[in-house]
């Protein structure tokens, strides 16, 4: 076991989570920890001799600085909630699956699978790493659901339980397409093999054997027709019902026509049919489908606001806390909102002081102070201590009423069908050729009519074309996914390639949500004076004071007397050496109206104004080069829910020409996007949080930014991990290149089609030609699309 702790920048890193320790006070023997939480986890593991956890990976833990409140999982004692969560139950056992977003390495796996050592009531725990889930079997006699959840939390894996879990179980991974693929592959391979006599010719004496081969092919093709090809029938049937022809319709038609014609040939003994082509199409198409599906199976793009809310709220009744599920909360209930919890309904604050972070709803990053009796709105997050509110308006109407209607707009527009750019033309071309051929043979030799027409459908079946689409898109989705940029569907690639205007949200998108820049303006302050300021600030719980004291490094060893806090204005106090310090708004400290915008904290010492601390947003790394490169090709605008304190900074970043709008409410953002679209722009919107949800929906491409892929983001077309944002231009370039690849392979497939049609219209398409043409066209197109898109992404260093 490594006992030496890595040291960087002269700072000790926490043995548990690897973050720098603020001081060296917290330690066990040689091992230093950054906080009590991390230390506690270590103790638990040590007691249960699970310290292998630390030898498998260096500093594998998850930071424990934010303490989960003690009775958070009291809701798991509630029978009703329990039954909705567990998957199996009998007299002695409960089976449950928890989602643990913190899971990230083999150490986690080791620890979670040894859960029975920490909690003996656990019979077994099995991790599914890919889904970040753990299946737990527990004995009801020895432990309870709540205790297991608390055990998990105590070792740093807090189960994530959301309202969505209650509504429906997560759909199990659909395996049927994999079965279909397996069967198609089996049949396709064998049919190819059995078709060789057909291709190479066979001795006249062996005609009987040929019939055996043909009938075997026929039998092998049946499961493909009836089972493997089902997804294509379903999808095309759905599209026909919606009076819209999607790309699966011609495929389904081609499959059926090919089968019927081949069957007739075999039964009449006139030929071997085209079973190899037919099963090949199905096999290759299914591969493409599965690749596409796999890319975004993990991600849910349809999360609505309910997934943000906790599963249950503590309702106070006769001074007892009763965990209640969200839908059951009624107007008039008193809710206890714990620290760091979202407020689930509009209400009146009845107890405690609220510092509510509305960044979720408005984008304003600095918490708002609310006093008793004031109205608080749903969607805010309490940041300081517990509060009680009296519900006046319950969910779902309470929250963001304007969104409901707007959100439906796009879901109708967006249908997950892949439509190649030239598809309608292609259908036309295909049918025209078929019709002309039909007329020609009708006049000249009616006996050749049907063979010729069916051949045309077999050969022009847009399979090569489709393959090129499916595979290029699938590959691009896969590459982007590997780079933590997840698209909802292949259609999104098209949309990204077409954008003309990029709109950014500021707070949380261009700036980092949980970091602030604080700098000082005014007369210089000595070390001691700074320390005094920090001491005063650390006495206050106002968010700005807290940020300030954290920034200055927590005032140590400074006594403060006569501390007084003027709510909403500032704080004052006398320090050790008798300095009278005032800290707060311009009005409070300087007794003059502030003439600057932005967030400032003024300080004065002995009634002499010294200067002010200016709070500004911390921009994400590399935002500047990103904006510069975007500006060259697109119009860029920035919308912000915040005040315009950042205008100058932003101007430097995005340049003079770009539009900057401040104090934008969610509706304003939505309207802005709409106006752009009316002007004919194709808009890409990048935002975070609920305040952008409407705008994200409205825009042609809505990209939600997420600090962690597992975090919850508003419904969008794509999710990008925050760290990948600077590479957005490359992603866009790749999407544009995708279009070119598809067009190139489209041209290639037309060439193949023309060759095939040359034989088909003459009614002389022999199985040999079909057998060579179909796989070779498919394979060469596969190579072209896969190869070129992979090569391209390599060139772009992805």
């Amino acid at each position: 076991m490594p006992t030496i702790q890595p040291v960087t920048d002269n700072k000790t890193l926490c043995y548990h989570c690897g973050e720098p320790c603020p001081n060296e006070k917290i330690h066990i023997a040689e091992k230093k920890f950054c906080c009590e939480g991390c230390k506690m986890v270590y103790q638990i593991l040590n007691e249960n001799s699970l310290c292998d956890y630390y030898s498998l990976n260096e500093n594998p833990g998850i930071n424990q600085r934010i303490v989960v409140r003690k009775d958070k999982f009291a809701l798991l004692d509630d029978e009703k909630i329990k039954t909705q969560l567990i998957s199996f139950k009998d007299d002695t056992q409960i089976h449950i699956t928890f989602y643990l977003p913190q899971m990230h390495c083999s150490s986690c796996l080791y620890l979670l699978e040894n859960l029975h050592r920490v909690n003996p009531g656990v019979v077994s725990s099995k991790v599914n790493f890919a889904r970040k889930e753990v299946d737990i079997v527990l004995l009801t006699k020895e432990t309870s659901l709540r205790k297991v959840a608390e055990t998990l939390t105590s070792i740093g894996y807090e189960p994530y339980i959301s309202l969505n879990d209650l509504k429906e179980k997560r759909p199990a991974i659909d395996k049927s397409m994999v079965y279909q693929l397996g069967i198609a592959g089996f049949c396709f391979g064998n049919i190819m093999l059995l078709s060789f006599p057909e291709y190479l010719g066979i001795d006249a004496s062996e005609v009987g054997l040929r019939a055996v081969f043909r009938w075997l092919n026929f039998v092998l093709a049946i499961p493909v027709l009836l089972y493997s090809a089902l997804p294509f029938y379903e999808s095309s049937w759905k599209s026909i019902k919606h009076k819209f022809l999607n790309i699966d319709a011609p495929i389904a038609l081609a499959i059926i026509i090919t089968f019927v014609r081949s069957a007739i040939e075999v039964i009449n003994g006139t030929g071997g049919g085209y079973f190899d082509s037919m099963t090949g199409i199905v096999f290759f198409m299914l591969i493409g489908r599965i690749i596409q599906d796999k890319t975004y199976r993990q991600l849910s793009f349809e999360r609505d606001y309910t997934s943000y809310f906790p599963i249950a709220i503590s309702v106070l009744k006769d001074s007892k806390e009763i965990p209640t599920t969200l839908p059951e909360i009624k107007t008039g209930d008193t809710l206890l909102i714990h620290n760091e919890e979202l407020i689930p309904a509009d209400g009146i604050l009845t107890k405690g002081k609220a510092f509510i972070d509305y960044s979720f709803v408005t984008g304003e990053s600095i918490p708002v102070l609310k006093e008793m009796g004031e109205l608080v709105y749903a969607g805010g997050k309490q940041t300081e201590g517990n509060i009680e509110i009296l519900v006046v308006k319950k969910l779902p109407k309470a929250i963001l009423p304007n969104y409901g209607t707007e959100m439906n707009l796009k879901s109708r527009r967006k249908i997950n069908f892949i439509r190649p750019p030239a598809e309608p033309v292609f259908h036309l071309y295909c049918f025209t050729i078929a019709a002309t051929t039909a007329v020609y043979w009708q006049i000249n030799d009616p006996s050749k009519l049907w063979p010729a027409i069916t051949s045309i459908f077999i050969i022009t079946c847009p399979c090569a074309l489709l393959l090129s689409n499916t595979f290029t898109n699938g590959n691009i989705l896969r590459i982007l996914g590997k780079n933590r940029f997840y698209l909802r569907s292949a259609q999104t690639i098209e949309d990204i390639a077409r954008i003309t205007h990029v709109v950014f949200d500021k707070t949380g998108t261009l700036t980092s949500a949980n970091q602030q820049n604080i700098f000082y303006e005014g007369d210089g302050l000595t070390e001691q004076e700074l320390n005094q300021v920090a001491s005063i600030a650390s006495h206050s719980s106002h968010p700005l004071s807290r940020a300030l004291s954290k920034h200055l490094g927590y005032g140590k060893d400074e006594e403060v007397s006569q501390f007084h806090e003027n709510t909403g204005r500032g704080v004052q106090g006398i320090t050790d050496d008798g300095t009278f310090l005032k800290l707060g708004s311009a009005e409070f400290v300087t007794e003059q109206k502030s003439n600057t915008s932005g967030t400032n904290v003024y300080i004065s010492m002995n009634d002499k104004v010294k200067g002010r601390f200016v709070f500004s947003n911390q921009y994400r790394e590399n935002v500047e080069p990103l904006l510069h490169s975007l500006k060259r090709h697109y119009n860029v605008s920035v919308l912000s829910g915040d005040n315009d304190a950042e205008r100058e900074n932003l101007k430097k970043l995005v340049g003079e020409k770009s539009e900057l709008l401040f104090n934008q409410k969610p509706e304003d953002k939505l309207q802005y996007i709409k106006d752009l679209q009316i002007r004919g722009e194709s808009v890409m919107m990048i935002g975070d949080g609920l305040n952008d949800a409407g705008a994200l929906k409205q825009s042609n491409v809505g990209i939600a930014i997420s600090e962690q892929t597992n975090n919850f983001t508003p419904s969008s077309d794509a999710i990008i991990e925050a760290k990948q944002l600077p590479r957005l231009t490359r992603f866009i370039r790749l999407c544009i290149a995708n279009r070119k690849i598809i067009i190139a392979s489209f041209v290639l497939s037309i060439v193949y089609n023309i060759i095939g049609l040359y034989f088909a219209v003459q009614g002389t398409l022999s199985p040999v030609i079909a057998a060579i043409l179909m796989p070779s066209s498919s394979l060469s197109i596969l190579l072209l699309t896969f190869g070129s898109s992979s090569l391209l992404s390599k060139n772009m260093k992805m």
């Binding site: 019979v123 890919a130 059995l194």
Partner: protein, 55 residues
């Protein structure tokens, strides 16, 4: 030519066995999580096997 027929039966049944193995593997979830089994095998003490239970 009966030898070809025998070979035919043999080859298709071998392929059939593999198909069956594939379907079985998919059904029992062997392709679902390709990360944990790989590291699980490296742990010194294996997690206690779940007692045979009434599943």
């Amino acid at each position: 030519m009966s030898v070809i027929l025998i070979l035919l039966i043999a080859s298709i049944s071998v392929a059939g066995i593999f198909l069956f193995a594939f379907l079985w593997g998919t059904k029992t979830g062997q392709f679902e999580d390709d990360i944990s089994p790989a590291s699980r095998i490296l742990f010194d003490d294996k997690p206690a096997q779940p007692k045979p239970n009434n599943k």
